[in-house]
């Protein structure tokens, strides 16, 4: 038997609910999920069409065989591997923003980390398709996994290609876990503000999140530990990818600098991709108050810095080729710049080393259209970097009699175009259904700013 509650409490109960005003942060950030905007729909349609044509090409290649790719002896690693390395690299900037900048307590990342993490997940999902497309017989991909079989065979653990299988799968899994863990409290925000089927789906996805102290404590610890794990992981993944090349003895590939060179290139290209996707998203959904020019400027500083590391690596490659005294190396590098693939080499150098120098000027760092164009140029440059590394090296190996020329076939180009559409499709769907900015992290900063307190 309960006694009547104190008068004050009863009065409050009556007052509470109806006049409730939702916070501005929630309204602004969830706004894109509330309506279908025309530019969004148009882009999604384009992306789906692009994926469709690539699926057709892939079906054709699978049916007819790998001959429809432009492979010519001695070049058997081509657009698929280039595109694989490209997309894996794109993913790295997202992990850098979400994990490494988190560990460094760089608070400015809060506004962009969700978009960057989403980009990571979708880039890795795109990249993971390419080894399968590259092996041609898609249905045999499970040979890559060590599984018990009647022949008693196991995979070769001394091969960098197998290291890559483990590195990529780990990276994909951990990126998805990291992304999802960060999303849980934000999905709960969306759940509380939706009805019907949407509410049911959000309620399942957010796992009954209520923001209790125990949940927050476990959550912040989880994010910290995942960051601690993801930081060495991201450095290892592109190192392992680089060893796919560096562990062989092909001139142009056999270099110890490859691991740091690839990691820096990945971060460089990845930041450019963050700009490429965030600038239009911000514009379409009117999120200028959260993703400010300050964020773009910080990212362009990263781009400028990593551009110098990449430029140093390019220079060092040439120096070592000359200094080694190995004729095959020297010829390989001479032909990079002045041989049949000179165009791609000069695209790479100008897009990755020369154009980014514009970012020395603050005017240009804060001028959004310039940044967008520059980020697209860098994306192209980074794709060509892998083109140069892979194609020029394999096509000009030891014996001139074995040299050959490679030209991408239409099937390969169609699948390459499809990969961009596949990535765009996932990203567009994501921004329609989930908050593109980490609501709770922005709120944490806002509440601190409003009331002060520890930090």
């Amino acid at each position: 038997m309960t006694p009547p509650p104190p008068a004050t409490a009863v009065a409050d109960m009556a007052q509470s609910s109806p006049a409730f005003q939702d916070s501005k942060i929630n309204r602004d950030i969830l706004n894109p999920t509330r309506y279908v905007s025309l530019p969004w729909l148009g882009l999604l349609l384009l992306a789906v069409l692009g994926v469709g044509q690539a699926v057709f090409s892939l079906g054709y290649q699978t049916y007819v065989g790998l001959g429809v790719a432009g492979y010519q002896a001695p070049v058997f690693w081509a657009v698929y591997i280039i595109t694989f390395v490209f997309w894996i690299g794109i993913g790295h900037a997202g992990t850098l923003i979400s994990a490494i900048l988190f560990l460094f307590r760089a608070k400015w990342r809060n506004a962009i980390n969700r978009g960057a993490e989403a980009m990571t997940v979708f880039a890795v999902l795109t990249a993971a398709l390419f080894p399968l497309i590259h092996i041609g017989r898609l249905w045999k991909f499970y040979f890559l996994i060590p599984y018990p079989n009647q022949r008693g065979l196991w995979v070769n653990f001394k091969s960098p290609l197998l290291w890559d299988v483990f590195a990529i799968n780990t990276y994909m899994t951990i990126s998805i876990v990291f992304f999802y863990v960060g999303l849980i409290p934000d999905i709960a925000v969306a759940r509380d503000r939706s009805t019907g089927l949407k509410r049911v789906i959000y309620a399942i996805l957010c796992l009954g999140w209520q923001g209790t102290s125990g949940q927050w404590k476990a959550h912040t610890r989880t994010v910290l530990h995942l960051s601690g794990l993801a930081t060495p992981l991201v450095l290892s993944v592109h190192s392992v990818v680089s060893w796919d090349f560096a562990m062989s003895i092909i001139p142009g590939w056999h270099a110890t600098i490859f691991a740091p060179y690839f990691v820096a290139g990945a971060i460089f290209g990845g930041f450019a991709m963050v700009l490429t996707v965030m600038i239009p998203s911000r514009r379409i959904f009117g999120l200028e108050a959260y993703i400010t020019d300050y964020h773009f400027e910080n990212m362009s500083r990263f781009i400028l810095f990593t551009s110098w590391i990449v430029g140093y690596a390019y220079g060092m490659e040439y120096f070592i080729a000359w200094y080694s005294g190995v004729e095959a190396e020297q010829t390989s590098f001479f032909l990079r710049a002045f041989g049949p693939y000179w165009v791609s080499t000069w695209i790479m150098i100008s897009a990755n080393c020369i154009f980014p120098q514009l970012l020395w000027f603050k005017k240009l760092r804060t001028h959004v259209p310039t940044l967008f164009v520059l980020s697209v140029i860098i994306n192209i440059g980074m794709w060509f970097e892998r083109y140069v590394i892979i194609i020029t090296s394999t096509s000009r190996d030891f014996i001139p009699g074995a040299w050959g020329l490679y030209i991408p076939s239409p099937v390969e180009l169609s699948i390459l175009a499809g990969s961009f559409c596949w990535f765009a499709m996932f990203f567009l769907l994501f921004i329609k259904f989930f908050p593109i900015i980490a609501i709770t992290e922005v709120k944490e900063l806002a509440i601190h700013e409003k009331y002060g307190g520890a930090h």
Binding site: P3, P5, P6, A9, M13, Q15, S16, F20, S23, N26, P146, G152, V155, F157, K158, L162, W163, F166, A167, T170, T173, I174, V177, F178, Y180, V181, I184, A188, D192, V200, L207, G208, Q210, G211, T212, S213, G214, Q215, W216, K217, A218, H219, T220, R221, T222, H225, L226, L229, A230, P232, L233, S236, V240, K443, E444, I447, Y451, G452, G453, A454
Partner: protein, 168 residues
């Protein structure tokens, strides 16, 4: 037993009230907050989160699995590759490392779900409402009937915006 819900604007107030409540022996309490605030979490429970144990166990399990798997599989069908020992440790470090991260990360996720008691559900706590995923903070205290007015007074004297009884 009656349950009281009080609503606050500032995280510092929540932390202060929780400390006072615990000081007076009201330990059956919970907070709702729109974002993580260390001061609140430590006021409710100062012990470190057990999630770290999950990460550690996962990581150790991963490194052991990685090396054990590679060494056993190499010895199960011995193939001489590049004149190296069958079980050659340096190249195995890479997959050992990757599995450390993989298992560590996955078990950290399990830790979060377990420690935070997260599972798909539609019925939330009766005291929870969407204002706590906006910008307000809540404290829920379950106390004996005779203590209701004491708790109510304590909340109000510490800048609670409102205090109400929760229908269980």
């Amino acid at each position: 037993m009656p349950t009281l819900l009080s609503v606050f604007d500032r995280p510092q107030d929540v932390a202060a009230v929780v400390t006072k409540l615990k000081g007076r022996g009201f330990n059956d309490l919970e907070t709702y907050s729109p974002a993580p605030f260390e001061e609140i979490e430590d006021a409710v429970d100062p012990r470190p989160s057990p999630v770290r144990l999950f990460t550690l166990i996962g990581g150790l399990a991963g490194v052991v699995t990685g090396f054990a798997m590679q060494i056993w599989m190499s010895l199960d069908w011995p193939l001489k590759i590049a004149g190296k020992p069958y079980a050659s440790i340096p190249p195995y470090v890479i997959i050992g490392f990757e599995l450390t991260i993989l298992f560590g990360g996955l078990l950290t996720l399990v830790g979060l779900l377990f420690v935070g008691r997260l599972y798909p559900r539609f019925r939330l706590d009766p005291a929870y409402s969407m204002r706590f995923s906006a910008e307000e903070f809540g404290i829920v205290v379950t106390c004996k009937d005779r203590d209701v007015s004491e708790v109510d007074a304590l909340m109000r004297s510490n800048s609670a915006k409102e205090v109400s009884l929760v229908d269980a």
